[in-house]
């Protein structure tokens, strides 16, 4: 398993897209911290990067990579290797490489410019989001044999998590405005890792007061150590569940 992981990691790190992604992140972080007059504002701009760009790149790159490795996977499967180990290595390689790219491109600059709880939370969330979307990508890629369909599905999933889900939340809010929804909202946010990451980061920033403004529940839950711990646990579940489901599918897949 360690050997397969080594070959996959080497292959991904050699990939020019990962290098371009790292440079892109670097360029953005440095521009943001250079342009904005306060690091707080810089962090706010970076928030969008972590919530939209990182998931998009991770899910698309991972999906395409898996389709492009079809031959490689086929070759490995005919070897005396467990399918589970092959799939785990692929996941480990992708998640490791993309997290590494994120840490180099965004994590280190953030920690350099803003060595605070906020910065740390941001890097942690960025890494978690990267890994989550790799897991989701693997599920998308294993679900259909057709590459175009698979990439389409990946884009759709990204759109769902970063836009459509929130639209749905708004819809629920409008429809059930007469009911006390705060508590429900906390639960619903667990269904979208992007929302969880956004809330956890915002609550570490001083704009958090705005979130406490309308209902203390968000802050009382997400703002406490226990709440953050549970949220991170839920995010780990967001890695575990899609990956386990994709593994189950991969084990039964005909090559």
């Amino acid at each position: 398993m360690r050997k397969i992981l080594k070959y996959i990691l080497l292959d991904i790190l050699r990939n020019k897209i990962v290098l371009a992604y790292t440079l892109f992140l670097l360029a953005i972080t440095f521009t943001v911290f250079g342009l904005e007059d306060s690091t707080q504002k810089g962090l706010l701009s970076l928030l969008n990067l972590i919530l939209f760009i990182v998931p998009l790149v991770c899910i698309i790159f991972a999906t395409i990579y898996i389709y492009n490795s079809a031959e490689f996977i086929e070759l490995l499967v005919s070897q005396p290797l467990k399918r589970k180990n092959i799939w785990l290595s692929l996941f480990g390689g992708l998640a490791g490489a993309l997290s590494f790219a994120f840490i180099i491109g965004a994590g280190l600059p953030v920690l350099f410019f803003e060595r605070s709880a906020t910065g740390l939370m941001m890097v942690l969330m960025g890494v978690l989001i990267s890994v989550i979307f790799v897991a989701i990508a693997m599920l998308a890629a294993v679900s259909t044999r057709d590459k175009a369909k698979g990439i389409g599905l990946a884009i759709l999933l990204w759109l769902y998590f970063s836009l459509m889900f929130d639209g749905l939340v708004l819809f629920i809010l409008f429809q059930f405005a007469d009911y006390p929804l705060e508590r429900l909202m906390v639960g619903i946010s667990a269904l979208n890792p992007v929302d969880l990451a956004r809330i956890l980061i915002l609550l570490k920033m001083d704009v958090s007061a705005l979130m406490g403004y309308t209902g203390a529940i968000f802050k009382d839950f997400f703002g406490t150590d226990k709440g953050s711990f549970i949220s991170v646990l839920v995010m780990l579940l967001w890695i575990f569940l899609p990956f386990m489901y994709s593994l189950r599918k991969f084990k039964r897949k005909d090559l």
Binding site: K3, I4, Y7, D11, S69, A70, E71, F72, E74, L75, L76, V77, S78, Q79, P80, L81, K82, R83, K251, R252, K253, D254, L255
Partner: protein
């Protein structure tokens, strides 16, 4: 050694394998023959764990294939169309496989040498011709001295010289008592090699006989003629 019991597999509505049952033992050299799309490749892929059968069991030295994976270290497989990571070089693929399988026994590099692959070690897999690809596949199949060799259309795409090299290698290994499972359309090639014939049609095994039995049954000395005879009999 290889034992299939009631193996069935469908791709969608298409039933590719239909209650296939057969056994193949060490020292045998079995030819899998039959018309296109009769399920030969699927059966082979089932044995390698690449295709998961819907029902039935496959055992390899009494190890159930669906749960095990170690058995694959005893198999050398040459696919019909080799598919390799395009951006890897021949040398890298071979090194990687050697690294992953991590066998202590010395490697059998006869084919690599006789095909002259070493000169091509720096070529990328994506740029290879079909024939060279087949040479790589064949070399890899024999590389780890496996007890069982599964060759899917081994000579398709090979030039006559390479074809002859491969055939000789097969004969040599067969004489060492290895189990061979070969599919081929070129029946004349199989004459000197195989000891058993499995004939498949529409996902079912029509017969499973020794070559001698088949020849005496239909009164032909050549395999190709024997099969042709048989086919005309069954369709008639």
């Amino acid at each position: 050694m290889i034992e299939a019991v009631n193996l069935s597999k469908s791709f969608g509505k298409l039933r590719v394998l239909n209650n296939v049952t057969f056994t193949s033992n060490i020292g045998e050299c079995t030819a899998l023959i039959g018309p296109n799309g009769c399920g030969k490749t699927t059966l082979i892929k089932c044995m390698l764990g690449m295709v998961v059968p819907d029902s039935g069991t496959l055992r390899f030295k009494n190890e159930n294939i669906s749960t095990g994976w170690v058995y694959r270290s005893m198999i050398g497989y040459m696919p019909q169309i080799g598919r390799y990571p395009e951006n890897m070089k021949i040398g890298q693929v071979i090194d990687m496989l050697a690294d992953i399988r991590n066998q202590n026994a010395p490697l059998d590099e006869d084919l690599i040498n006789s095909f002259g692959l070493r000169k091509l070690y720096n070529k990328r897999m994506g740029n290879l011709s079909g024939g060279t690809m087949q040479k790589v596949s064949a070399s890899i199949a024999f590389l780890f001295n496996p007890d069982v060799l599964i060759l899917d259309e081994p000579t398709a795409g090979l030039d006559p010289m390479a074809s002859e090299i491969l055939k000789e290698k097969i004969l040599a290994e067969r004489n060492k008592g290895k189990l061979f499972l070969i599919t081929s359309h070129i029946l004349s090639e199989l004459d000197d090699i195989v000891s058993h014939i499995v004939y498949m049609q529409e996902g079912s095994i029509i017969f499973y006989k020794t070559l001698e039995a088949l020849k005496t049954e239909v009164g032909e000395t050549k395999l190709s003629k024997a099969i042709a005879h048989f086919m005309s009999n069954t369709t008639a």
